[in-house]
């Protein structure tokens, strides 16, 4: 099969004894990886994401700040040699606060996406495989969840249960699994007519084995693309919840909560409380969107190779 789908030359070109060239067969995943790496924006996005993960989790080990004891005499100081981004309204070093907030925001983003993907994939796979009336009912359930305005219900639940990383992740993930469920169901519906599924069934594979060993691994392309966008959406959702005041509270903090705090001082001109945090959110979400778009393109290449 000619490599006309990818604009890149084949990885291994061997010379046949009779002369001429033979392109070695590549696994779909390696092709996808190459396509991904050739997308400049994706590589930049990936680098930005790694930077932020390191910045938030390894940063505090290098840049020591006191995040537990308030120091009101030093509140709202502009950036200086001592405090690289100034201090916030409780006297905490702002840069250290951004790192700590980033830990919470990133954790919630990844956990919520994880919850959404796990529930959604299982739900969609079961629904697609069983089919018939069960499938219709399960999809109506998905429709019902999709009709609930996301922000409203997340806020209501956050008011009641919120204020920890775990509860916010669960709440956000619980209202985000519907989209991956639909996507996986679509994939499974087309996959289950394939020969390898028929072969597995004939060999006596149980439903669970079919789902876990055959269907989900082959639907993974769609899942990977979606999980990236789920993380981006979850980070945005946390920032909205935090901004409205229902996120993590003192002494814990997340980026949305910091912005909410900073907004009070907008007119006083304390820019260091607002723009650095906002920029962190925007860059992280942008990086994830770049990666997601590139993954979507490279999954296309992988499918075409099939």
């Amino acid at each position: 099969m000619a490599m006309q789908s990818s604009s890149l030359p084949p990885l291994d070109v061997q010379r046949a004894p009779e002369g001429g060239e033979v392109g070695a067969v590549q696994s779909g995943w390696r092709l996808a990886l190459r396509e991904f790496m050739s997308n400049r924006l994706a590589v930049i996005g990936f680098a930005i994401l790694i930077f932020f993960v390191l910045f938030c989790f390894v940063g505090p080990l290098i840049y020591h700040t006191n995040q537990l004891a308030t120091n009101l005499s030093e509140a709202n100081q502009p950036p200086s040699a001592q405090h690289l981004l100034g201090t916030d309204s409780a006297g905490f070093d702002e840069l250290g606060r951004i790192m700590k907030g980033g830990q919470a925001s990133l954790e919630i983003g990844f956990f919520a996406a994880f919850v959404a993907i796990v529930i959604g994939t299982l739900f969609g796979a079961v629904s697609g495989l069983i089919g018939g009336f069960v499938d219709s009912t399960m999809m109506r359930v998905v429709d019902i969840f999709l009709s609930i305005p996301f922000l409203f219900v997340v806020l209501i639940l956050a008011v009641k249960f919120g204020a920890t990383v775990a509860s916010l992740s669960l709440v956000i993930g619980f209202f985000a699994w519907q989209v991956p469920a639909r996507l996986v169901r679509g994939e499974v519906l087309s996959l289950r007519e394939r020969d390898f599924v028929l072969a597995a069934r004939t060999a006596g594979a149980s439903t669970w084995r079919l789902i876990s060993k055959h269907l989900i691994p082959n639907a993974l392309g769609v899942v990977i693309v979606n999980v990236t966008f789920q993380v981006a959406d979850a980070i945005l959702a946390v920032s909205y919840v935090g901004f409205l005041g229902f996120g993590l509270h003192f002494p814990n903090v997340d980026w949305g909560d910091q912005l909410s705090d900073g907004t009070t001082y907008l007119q006083d001109g304390y820019w260091w409380l607002i723009y650095p945090v906002g920029a962190c959110i925007v860059l992280t979400v942008m990086a994830l969107n770049f990666i997601g778009d590139a993954l979507r393109d490279s999954m296309d290449v992988r499918l075409r190779r099939r």
């Binding site: 019902i144 609930i148 409203f152 209501i156 008011v159 945005l236 949305g256 907004t263 942008m286 969107n289």
Partner: protein, 315 residues
Amino acid sequence: MISYLARRLVTSIIVIIGVSIFIFLLLHAIYPSPARQVLGLSARPAQIDAWNKQNGYDDPVIVQYFRYMNQLLHGNLGYSYANNQSVLALFQERVARSVYLSGISLLIAVIIALPLGIFQAVKRNSIGDNLATSAAFILYSMPSFFLGLILIQVFAISLPIFNFEASQSTNIWYVIGDWYSMTLPIMTLALITVAAFSRYMRSSSMDVLAQDYIKVARAKGLPERLVLSRHLFRNASLPMVTLIGLSLPVLLAGNLITEELFNYQGLGLLFFTSLQKVDYPVMLAYTLAGAVLVVVGNLVADIALTIADPRIRLA
């Protein structure tokens, strides 16, 4: 087509019933009764029980659900104890302002996004296209309140052109004419919406430009502007119909974040304060209304697309 629409209608009604049950049960589980908020924190359990019995909050959930649905269908959305008004009255006070803010932002967004998307597709990969795509990407990745903060900083504080707060007037006509206070909230919403819409518009325009009938029109010698206006515009706008339908819930339910940031007394801000005061009747009515609007919005989008796109209608 009629049978398709009939089926969609039946499905929508089933979904609305399902959603109403789910939301009612959810809110009931979290806030079984507003007795605590009404009687105060020092209320004794006996008082709470008496109040619950008197107001019907100790009946089985199913009975409460049907009673609430019955009330709803008769126009009674419940009573807000925190605001000492009926929920319907609260909504009626604010619905005009919310509809205005969301509506005008949607209109401006469509007016900007439609030509912008077409321009991006026609002048593909030019500097203009790349600039617009980058700007859309950044706006798309931004929480809407951050854009609002930046706009306030630039246009209300550093350059005192506009007001940092939205109009506080209760007279809708005054609000409409108040460009000093309303420009920033409207621009915030409009820009965020343009970012999302122009992406769709651009990809849909690119799809249409690749079609054969465009090639034929050009081959026949049709001037480019007519190719764009007569063929490209109509066909590329079809996804916009769906997008506008999907924006219906936000249109009527108010935009929570923007109203909170600019202190605009709309339905969104009402919901936000009801969260803070734990005003259960308002939360319930508002979430239900939002859910029904989402379903109706989807249905309207489907119907509009069926009417607008002859390929679906005649299939």
